[in-house]
């Protein structure tokens, strides 16, 4: 499954390859960032001030958790424990991404803290979509920085001006996110194991979704990755 070239090379990533990664990172950053406008508007409507709204986008920086937190806190301060629980459950998957990213990025010290902060669906997806470790690292940092920049700018705009664009679904932005993740996962679906893992995880998550709190079905579905436990010849 892992066709990445080992780390430590000194040659530069070739320019054409580099442009592809930059393009992926920027388009994911812009598409995801646009949602920041809805988040900012929703957070202020839920009773947060602009500083509290910006604290979430700058410091929590994980969209699903942020939406869940403000959606529940809108019911009043008595809902705080439930809001914290919901945002935390949705944040578990970032920790699971980190298990792979820590090996892929090879970061230590302050860079490790920065990498942890930028560990979200989008940066992970662009990183693992690459078949070369240098492209993966570039993809991770660029996507993390692009999403961080656009997400926070748009959150501020949304908090100050309200949601000028209206429902992002009108523009198909929710479908753009699903299409982008599909495109990023696509190159990894070459082995039979990878396809089996993706299908099992997808089915498990959808089947469990009505029964479990948001965030939990996706984490349970992650157990599908144990399909890769035993070695397959095709992966060698």
């Amino acid at each position: 499954m892992s066709q990445r070239v080992g780390g430590g090379q000194v040659e530069e990533l070739d320019p054409a390859r580099r442009r592809l990664v930059v393009r992926e990172a920027l388009s994911v950053g812009v598409a995801t960032g646009a949602y920041g406008l809805s988040f900012g508007a929703l957070a202020v409507a839920a009773g947060l001030d602009v500083w509290q709204t910006m604290a979430l986008s700058l410091l929590m920086f994980t969209g699903g958790s942020q939406f869940a937190f403000v959606g529940i806190i809108a019911n009043g301060s008595g809902a705080a424990p439930a809001a914290i629980a919901a945002s935390s459950l949705l944040g578990v998957r970032n920790g699971l991404y980190a298990l792979e990213l820590t090996q892929l990025l090879g970061v230590h010290g302050v860079r490790r803290v920065a990498a942890a902060h930028l560990t979200i669906d989008e940066s992970t997806a662009v990183a693992v979509a690459q078949d070369d470790v240098r492209a993966s690292r570039l993809g991770f940092w660029l996507t993390g920085a692009a999403v961080f920049t656009f997400w926070n700018l748009m959150t501020l705009l949304g908090a100050l001006l309200g949601n000028a664009l209206g429902d992002p679904r009108t523009y198909g932005l929710d479908a753009a996110a699903a299409a982008a993740f599909t495109a990023l996962l696509w190159p990894r679906l070459r082995s039979r194991d990878a396809v089996a893992i993706a299908v099992v995880a997808g089915v498990v998550a959808v089947v469990l979704a009505p029964a479990l709190p948001p965030g939990v079905p996706v984490v349970v579905a992650a157990f599908a990755s144990f399909i890769a436990w035993r070695e397959r010849r095709e992966d060698a």
């Binding site: 410091l59 914290i84 980190a98 820590t102 198909g172 996110a177 699903a178 993740f181 990023l184 959808v206």
Partner: protein, 104 residues
């Protein structure tokens, strides 16, 4: 609980969860079986995310709507080796068009 305190606690947990994965000892992750599983984790998580983004609505209910059409168009574009931006734009355009015409 004050709102600021709730925000601070939620932020601390969110960051703690992200950092936790980076603090797992390297030698634990270097074991070949574990290495294969952690490499597969993003595949499982992203596939689960795509599936819930495509098929579930409020309360996690199963829903078939414009999002499925959008992802289907994206898959066709991927099979035709369309560039990333084209795949994403086609997905968005499909959903926006179906919704504006009231078909899904």
């Amino acid at each position: 609980m004050s709102l600021w305190l709730a925000i601070a606690v939620a932020i601390a947990i969110a960051f703690g969860l992200k950092l936790a994965g980076y603090l797992v000892p390297e030698n634990l992750l270097a074991e070949p079986h574990v290495k294969r599983v952690t490499a597969a984790l993003p595949i499982a998580l992203l596939a689960a995310l795509i599936a819930t983004q495509t098929f579930t609505g409020p309360g996690g209910a199963f829903v078939l709507d414009a999002r499925l059409a959008a992802v289907a168009v994206a898959v066709v574009a991927l099979l035709l080796r369309a560039p990333f931006i084209v795949v994403v734009a086609l997905g968005a355009a499909t959903a926006a068009l179906l919704r504006s015409t009231g078909w899904a």
